[in-house]
Amino acid sequence: MSRPRVPAALIALAGLGLLFFLLPLAGLVLRAPWDQAVAGVTAPETATALELSLFCSLAATAIALVLGIPLALVLSRTAGRLRNLLRALTTLPMVLPPVVGGVALLLAFGRRGLVGSLLYQAFGIQIPFTTAAAVMAETFVAMPFLVIAVEAGLRSLDPRYEEAARALGARGWMVFARVTLPLLRPAIFSGAVLCWARALGEFGATITFAGNFPGRTQTVPVAVYVALETHPDSAIVLSLILLAVSVAILVGMRDRWLGAL
């Protein structure tokens, strides 16, 4: 069986598209101040931003796992219009401009927000512009990726495994913990990696809801943006770090997504 040949004009357009991806990356690599790279990576500000980024993104992923897996489970077991509504709500942050997400978070958890005002009055707790806010902003934007992946995994799961478990006398928790969850492991893993990658790169919602305080809310993407004004070289180094992480994720998961690359 032979496929039809791709017309030359389309090949040219495809090449142009590829170039559009490659050029900026090439620029990043070629213009990187390699002689300062090591110093840049080990500079205290960079280390602080990197540390904070890792902490926040991992915390966001952990929260997404704890809340997102049950959410995916409920989504997959709900039928009809309610399910469509729930799914639309969960996936909204994926299409929402992150800045809008940040504003929305402020309106909900800000000092005068829906929940934030209650928290402030009752406990004196302020969330915005804290590390917790950075974690929340990242969770808000990244959790949908986990939910979508896990829900897809649940939908492709043979329902008979759970039926067999129930017929053997297993109650809800046992079915979930010993059958559903282990069988979902691949979906949970790829969902968690996607979620983490998204959290790591989060910028818009973070800077809106958490601000830009070095050591507290200044994650790597925020630091890149700020450094671009003052120390372009360190912005490039930080960008390279994020690029390296992304490539590592892509390579690590290529079997799952891209087949044999």
Partner: protein, 347 residues
């Protein structure tokens, strides 16, 4: 201990309405073509499909739609064996067998599971993963996993169908041995008559969501009441209205039969009793029609010839008869059946 069930399921384009009683100590096979509702019936008894009706097992009401009683699957004390084992792929053989015992909260679950495996001669596979087992072994482990929980009702969904013919006999032997020593109610659904006859004491034939016949395998095949059973018994089944010594078929054709009786009847003609001729036969048979050869199939030493016409029939003849009659698909042929070879019983 016994099972009494009245199961009604109504879904778009499909209705199941079955009354089923199974006593302890008998194995009942629900036999029917694909799509007859066998699996739905089994899933209903397992509590995986909601029904209209009532299910009572060993005196306990498991479900009663009128009383709004519905015991969930996990508390029904049933055992469900699927067509293709459905062993948990992430657990070892031992953990699979121990699963149900652990669900019952038994501390010695693994120990008990091991002794089940040992008795079945599968203890050397205890630490294997399901994917490392052969199809036959996997199905045997699945059976042990279910039996280990000592269910009151054992439900088997085509337990041999997914297996290779070569291992089917081995698993069937094990299955009948296990069934013989199992003390609960045993119900098997299958579309495979061999599986049903080999394992069951009583057959219940299900077609289009209804029971069309029930009885011992001999009774059912001797007096088929449906095309499905007639086909599996290899006989011709005709339905019509009897009047005196004649049965009038829906097609308008009339056949002569000894003692046809009155009213709606089934008439069964064994394919070997159907004689074929090149020209109109002279002599005694009163049932003579002309038909057209529709298909010719070789079955071992015999040839089965399907003939269309006023009375569609299958005839079984020798290969030499096929040559002598110049039988080819589409060729005209004369058909004769002696009235005494037709058995008629009320529908």
């Amino acid at each position: 201990m016994s099972l009494k069930a009245r199961v009604k399921v109504d879904r778009a384009g499909f209705a199941l309405d079955v009354q089923l009683d199974v006593d302890e100590g008998e194995t009942v096979a629900v036999l029917g073509p694909n799509g007859a509702g066998k699996t739905t019936l089994l899933r209903a008894l397992a509590g995986l499909v909601s029904i209209d009706g009532r299910v009572e097992l060993a005196g306990d009401v498991l479900e009663d739609s009128a009383l709004r009683v519905r015991v969930p699957t996990e508390r029904r004390h049933i055992g469900l064996v699927f067509q293709d084992h459905v062993l948990f792929p992430h657990l070892t053989v031992l953990d699979n067998v121990a699963f149900g015992l652990q669900a019952q909260g038994r501390r010695d679950a693994k120990h008990l599971a091991h002794s089940w495996l040992q008795r079945a001669g599968l203890d050397d596979r205890a630490s294997s993963m399901p994917r490392e087992l052969s199809g036959g072994q996997a199905q045997r482990v699945a059976l042990l996993r279910t039996l280990a929980t000592e269910p009151k009702l054992l439900l088997l969904d085509e337990p041999l169908s997914a297996l290779d013919v070569t291992v089917r006999a081995e698993v069937r032997r094990e299955l009948s041995r296990q069934l013989a020593s199992f003390r609960g109610v045993r119900l098997l659904v299958t579309h495979d008559p061999i599986e049903a006859i080999a394992l069951a004491d009583r057959l219940v034939v299900l077609e289009n969501g209804r029971i069309v016949q029930s009885g011992t395998p001999d009774e059912v095949t001797a007096r088929p009441r449906s095309r499905f059973v007639a086909d599996l018994a290899g006989v011709n089944l005709l339905r019509g209205k009897a009047h005196g010594a004649h049965v009038k078929l829906a097609s308008g054709a009339s056949i002569a039969a000894a003692d046809a009786g009155e009213g709606d009847v089934f008439a069964v003609i064994h394919p070997r009793a159907v004689a074929l001729f090149l020209t109109r036969p002279e002599g005694t048979p009163r049932n003579v029609w002309q038909g057209e050869t529709e298909s010719i199939d070789l079955h071992g030493e015999r040839v089965r010839v399907r003939i269309s016409g006023p009375v569609p029939l299958v005839a079984e003849v020798t290969p030499s008869a096929v040559r002598e009659l110049y039988l080819t698909v589409g060729a005209p042929v004369w058909v004769a059946v002696k009235a005494t070879e037709i058995s008629v019983y009320p529908a």
